[in-house]
């Protein structure tokens, strides 16, 4: 066990005028996760520390936060990867509710905008299922893995500069349906993504791909949507 210093950005809107940094020293193994240290602080040192976590296994995406200057899931980040001294901030670009908890509503609003559900104008075949070949499925397989943690969108400088930008996560969600051979809503989604706050605000910075805890090639998906909009309007 080694001593680790966690410097956490705290903010309680009911009593703090502005955020401040607080340091905690905890003992942890190299293979311990940042979430283990945060849980230790919350359970045994300072119960007022507020953060989201649920599954704690990289599936629910609720504990995304900025760890040592980079968006990560606290449940997937190990001390041996991020170092002994760790600085933790809430995700950037979203309003802070308290400590490490941000208001996800603006993010979810963008998500809903892209019609993230199956749209079909034809009834299902009589044998029950809408079949799809392996090749057809492979086109959007990567973007089915999104867990809506917001790590990508809140790592994007275009989103920091303009909160109205729909963001990489919503584009990934749209990509999942646009390239689904069974879906008929692509034209409506491309129309939404082609507006001023759609895909064209992407500056190909690549932070989103680096931040994605699921390893989704986010920038590639955004690029494919850009290309689809361009060639569908020619």
């Amino acid at each position: 066990m080694k001593k680790r210093t966690l410097k956490i950005k705290r903010f309680n809107p009911t009593k703090d005028k502005k955020p401040y940094w607080q340091e905690f020293v905890v003992e942890a193994e190299d293979t311990d996760r940042i979430l283990d240290a945060l849980n230790h602080i919350k359970w045994y040192v300072d119960g007022s520390l507020t953060m989201r976590r649920s599954c704690a296994h990289g599936i629910c995406g609720s504990d995304a936060m900025c760890i040592n200057g980079k968006n990560l899931l606290a449940c997937k980040a190990l001390f041996k990867e991020v170092g002994d001294d760790v600085t933790i901030e809430p995700l950037a670009g979203l309003p802070v509710i308290r400590d490490l908890v941000v208001d996800m509503e603006p993010f979810m609003e963008h998500y809903r905008t892209v019609l993230p559900y199956f749209i079909s104008e034809t009834p299902p075949p009589s044998y029950g299922e809408r079949l799809q070949s392996i090749e057809e499925r492979k086109i959007f397989d990567d973007t089915t893995k999104c867990i809506l943690c917001a790590a990508c969108t809140t790592s994007c400088p275009s989103f920091w500069a303009r909160g109205e930008y729909i963001g990489p996560s919503a584009i990934v969600q749209a990509h999942r349906f646009i390239f689904d051979s069974r879906d008929d809503g692509a034209a409506a989604r491309l129309d939404i993504l082609g507006n001023a706050d759609g895909v064209w605000r992407c500056r190909t910075i690549y932070n989103c791909t680096n931040a994605c805890p699921r390893g989704i090639e986010v920038t590639k998906a955004v690029g494919e949507v850009k290309k689809e909009i361009l060639f569908s309007t020619l």
């Binding site: 950005k9 903010f11 502005k18 955020p19 900025c66 040592n68 200057g69 980079k70 901030e89 809430p90 995700l91 950037a92 670009g93 979203l94 309003p95 802070v96 941000v102 790592s155 400088p157 920091w160 500069a161 909160g163 500056r203 190909t204 910075i205 690549y206 932070n207 791909t209 680096n210 090639e217 920038t219 590639k220 998906a221 690029g223 494919e224 850009k226 290309k227």
Partner: protein
């Protein structure tokens, strides 16, 4: 609040986020763009000086040719080369999305090309400056 509410917040977040070579490349692209825009404004003002007479025009040219302006010219060369080469890289990524898998290699490749171009042009500029210094 973490929400980016001001230019200062944006600049601080941009400077502190550890986004890798893509993030650094984007910052340099923007700085290069700002440099080119500043040059164009100064250039328009400089050309406009002819309206105030030949003497004023020549006076501004004389000032621009002083050694103190050479680093600014080199910075302009860097900005132009950076904007051009990095812009081509981004166009390639946008038209061929599968190239995003090689983003890091392509950024580093662009930096090597930009570095060679800047070294060559700055080298030529210094050579000319030394060789023809007496004739100016």
């Amino acid at each position: 609040m973490t929400v980016i509410s001001s230019t200062k917040d944006f600049v601080v977040r941009t400077a502190t986020y550890k986004g890798g070579v893509g993030h650094a490349s984007w910052i340099l692209h923007r700085l290069g763009g700002i440099g080119i825009a500043v040059f164009l404004i100064l250039h328009i003002i400089d050309i406009f000086m002819i309206v105030l007479g030949k003497e004023m025009f020549d006076f501004f040219l004389f000032i621009y040719h002083q050694p103190i302006f050479r680093p600014a010219i080199w910075g302009l060369m860097f900005g132009i080369f950076y904007h051009a080469v990095n812009g081509v890289r981004i166009i390639i990524h946008d038209f061929f999305p599968s190239t995003f898998r090689y983003q890091r290699e392509m950024v580093l490749g662009a930096w090597v090309i930009i570095g060679i171009l800047v070294v060559l042009t700055v080298g030529m500029d210094i050579f000319n400056w030394i060789t023809y210094a007496g004739s100016h």
